[in-house]
């Protein structure tokens, strides 16, 4: 059996064994979870703009994002956000809560390996690329900003 044939048959085998994501229910769940998280964010935005009318809109947005990031880390610690993530798929990843969960989840998971090599190192296993691309991209945008 030549290599190519073996690879295709192996890929077919993997496809057969992988857990199938049912298309329509998972799309609906992602829509629902993502939408609810954004609506909760809007709720915090309204609460903060009611109590702190002097702040600029961007500052209120930052406060709102920090609040839902904090809540997500807490829910990840309790093990609740993992349940939401398993149910909601991309609906729990794309909101900023997914970024927050991607930092808190491995840091809790690898706590056993110690504070420095467990929490501090593993914290960035998923969020590292996001921060790296964010910083590099923002510098590129800054260079673009010189010319516009």
């Amino acid at each position: 059996m030549d290599k190519e044939k073996r690879n295709t048959s192996y890929n077919l085998y993997v496809d057969a064994k992988l857990p199938k994501t049912k298309a329509w229910p998972s799309l609906f769940k992602a829509f629902l979870v993502g939408g609810i998280i954004c609506a909760i964010g809007q709720g915090f935005f309204d609460i903060y703009s009611y109590f702190f009318p002097n702040l600029a809109e961007s500052e209120i947005t930052t406060c709102m994002l920090m609040t839902i990031i904090f809540i997500t880390c807490f829910l990840t610690g309790l093990g609740i956000y993992d349940v939401v993530g398993a149910w909601g798929g991309a609906g729990s990843v794309i909101p900023i809560t997914g970024f927050s969960n991607s930092i808190s989840s491995p840091s809790i998971e690898f706590k056993k390996e110690g504070i420095i090599y467990g929490i501090c190192v593993k914290m960035f296993t998923i969020a590292g690329p996001v921060i790296v691309c964010g910083v590099v991209g923002s510098i590129v945008c800054g260079i673009v900003g010189l010319f516009i």
Binding site: Q42, A90, G91, I94, F99, E109, C141
Partner: protein
């Protein structure tokens, strides 16, 4: 002050962005880190082409809560700081704008990692 349409539009737009991401997940089996990076870059591109600001005006939290908003604030921070402070702003602007979210995510994760232990392995072994 509390306008119900803000919530409806946040729900619909935020949900739709996650819907698009879920299509990608089903089609390409893309990983979490890649999908976050992809949408972060989409946000930056939207900001550079001045599409993000009107989009956020329309979609409220539906635009700022998804990671797109994070990318857009990084890009906007860098562009604004470049205009204001010149060359140094290229390097300081992005992280300054996003510092609140990153600092809170790292701080809260560290504190809760000290407090809580892993729940996922319970009963597994």
């Amino acid at each position: 002050m509390f306008n119900i349409w803000d919530y409806v539009i946040s729900f619909l737009v935020g949900g739709f962005i996650c819907f698009l991401a879920q299509i990608l997940v089903i089609r390409t089996k893309i990983t979490t880190a890649r999908i976050l990076v992809l949408f972060l870059i989409i946000g930056m591109v939207l900001e550079v082409f001045n599409i993000y600001a009107p989009f956020k005006e329309f979609a409220k939290a539906g635009a700022s809560v998804p990671i797109i908003g994070f990318g857009a604030s990084l890009a906007r921070g860098a562009i604004m700081a470049t205009k204001e402070y010149g060359l140094i702003g290229i390097f300081t602007g992005g992280l300054t704008a996003a510092s609140g979210g990153i600092a809170m995510a790292i701080f809260a994760s560290f504190i809760f990692a000290l407090i809580f232990s892993s729940k996922t392995k319970r009963g597994g072994h």
